[in-house]
Symmetry: C2
Subunit: 306 residues, 2 copies
């Protein structure tokens, strides 16, 4: 049984005439005639009573043709579904973003994305890099915005921007007098870090390897603060417990009242933020839209990488 055959019998039932049915199907009369016979043979029933005058349906034929129409309608729905899914920007894009980027990028990204692809919905997932990588491979999300290093099989990546780090101290801290802080100076202070799993913690430790040494000053507060967010850490710094390193995008004008923000001297530590997606993810236009939106986001303090 083929869909063509079903279309033929529906046409014959509609036209009640093999010749006209053939014409309406844009095939020759023998073609249609043979196809109908073939279907009748396959089903083992006579669908039409042929006579010179007119063609009429057997009772089985009536039922079968009606059902054939239903099949063809369902086939139309398949085509409609495909048509709807054709626009790669149409469906929702499941986008993962790490904790230390999400709250600062999204307010800029969402409006920019609305400009680039108004019809595209975002389903957002905020998580650690490792978990996002896993979700990406499992197909639980389609793409992710993370920071390098990021290597995963079956995943393509694209650079978005480089983000410099800055030092945050409490108001009245001795470093306030300095124009810039050298990364080696951090070892002298209690540096508040995010909990393990946050890639930004690793970035900071990489920036200042001394922080990672075994022998820490006795009674040092320089320890991980489990479950903390950058906002929490910022409040702790403001409270005078220590200093910290922040990605520049996380610094808001509201921080001025509580903290002193200083740049690094020498080579500024940065993290490279990238967009990652499953290599096989078919809606490349959606990926491109996210990239464009990030570049157009006007995110302050970063170097966009085109």
């Amino acid at each position: 049984m083929t869909l063509t055959e079903l279309r033929y019998i529906v046409a014959v039932a509609r036209e009640r005439h093999f010749g006209r049915a053939a014409a309406s199907c844009f095939v020759s009369q023998p073609t249609l005639s043979v196809a109908v016979k073939k279907l009748e043979d396959e089903l083992g029933v006579t669908l039409f009573e042929r006579s010179a005058g007119d063609v009429s349906l057997t009772s089985t034929g009536e039922r079968v043709v009606e059902q054939a129409q239903r099949v063809l309608e369902e086939v139309q729905v398949v085509k409609q579904l495909a048509e709807q899914g054709k626009d790669p920007l149409a469906g929702p894009l499941r986008l993962g973003i790490i904790y230390t980027i999400s709250p600062y990028l999204l307010p800029c990204l969402i409006p920019a994305l609305r400009e680039v692809a108004p019809q595209m919905q975002l389903l957002l997932e905020e998580n650690y890099t490792g978990r996002l990588a896993e979700m990406l491979k499992q197909g639980e999300i389609d793409a992710a915005i993370v920071a390098e290093p990021f290597f995963e099989g079956g995943v393509s990546t694209m650079q978005l921007y480089d983000e410099p780090f800055v030092v945050a101290t409490p108001k009245g801290h001795p470093w306030e007098a300095l124009p810039a802080i050298d990364s080696s100076q951090l070892a002298e202070e209690n540096v508040l870090l995010l909990s393990p799993g946050n890639c930004f913690r690793d970035h900071v430790l990489q920036t200042c390897p001394d922080l990672n040494r075994e022998s820490l000053p006795a009674g040092s507060l320089q320890r991980t603060l489990q479950g903390s967010s950058l906002t929490t850490i910022r409040h702790m710094v403001a409270g005078g417990i220590g200093v910290t390193v922040l990605p520049v995008t996380s610094v808001t004008p509201a921080d001025d009242a509580l903290l002193t923000i200083k740049p690094f001297s020498g080579e500024t530590p940065t993290r490279r933020v990238i967009l990652a997606w499953r290599k096989n993810f078919p809606r490349t236009a959606a990926i491109e839209a996210v990239r464009t939106a990030v570049l157009n986001s006007g995110l302050a303090g970063v170097t966009f990488l085109h």
Copy 2:
């Protein structure tokens, strides 16, 4: 789009593996792979994300596969309908019977038919020969039991039985003394006839052409009794209004009390009862079943024609 392709994508979605899907469809893996790609091209969307590890569905793919399953289910229904319609005895047979046969044949025919084809339902239509012929050509009925003459284009016929006619007189009628009645004698009496349209009326007139002459006896009751049935006529004869001619099957034991039944002398007038059906009617087995049932009906007084 073909049903095969739909089966393939459903299999791939089920197995999440092209090779296994191909095996479950009993085709080679390249065959399935090409078919899936062809469908994807036709629909203009990617249905599956292929990677070495595993195959996953795109969101459009999920919807399309689900719909494809629905199509295949509907196709199954087509097959089921055909299967149900396969038994030519299964569906109801729409059988027309003329008024002067139906009440007398059916009581014998129905049980006999139940013997021959227990699963076959009868939809009965009682009407005049002319109307039955029309319905037969229109496909409103499938077959008809009528009396000759019966010529219709596109209709096949088959002899069933010859039915002799008899004369019915009131009790105490002078003819009671005679062993048999000659058809010419009928002209002497008031002969009650069915209304025009009943073929049996024509049979009687043919039997005794004198009845049809222009000059009827003054005040004669020998006229058509509009809308009468044989039963009504029988009661009128019993009431002494005249005599009539009956087909032998219409004579019941109950008539003995009211009527005197006499055979014809000489060549007995008869009517030939036949089975007619559209030449293209496909369920020949159903026709044959009716014929067999009639021959097995044990209808009294007739000569079955094998």
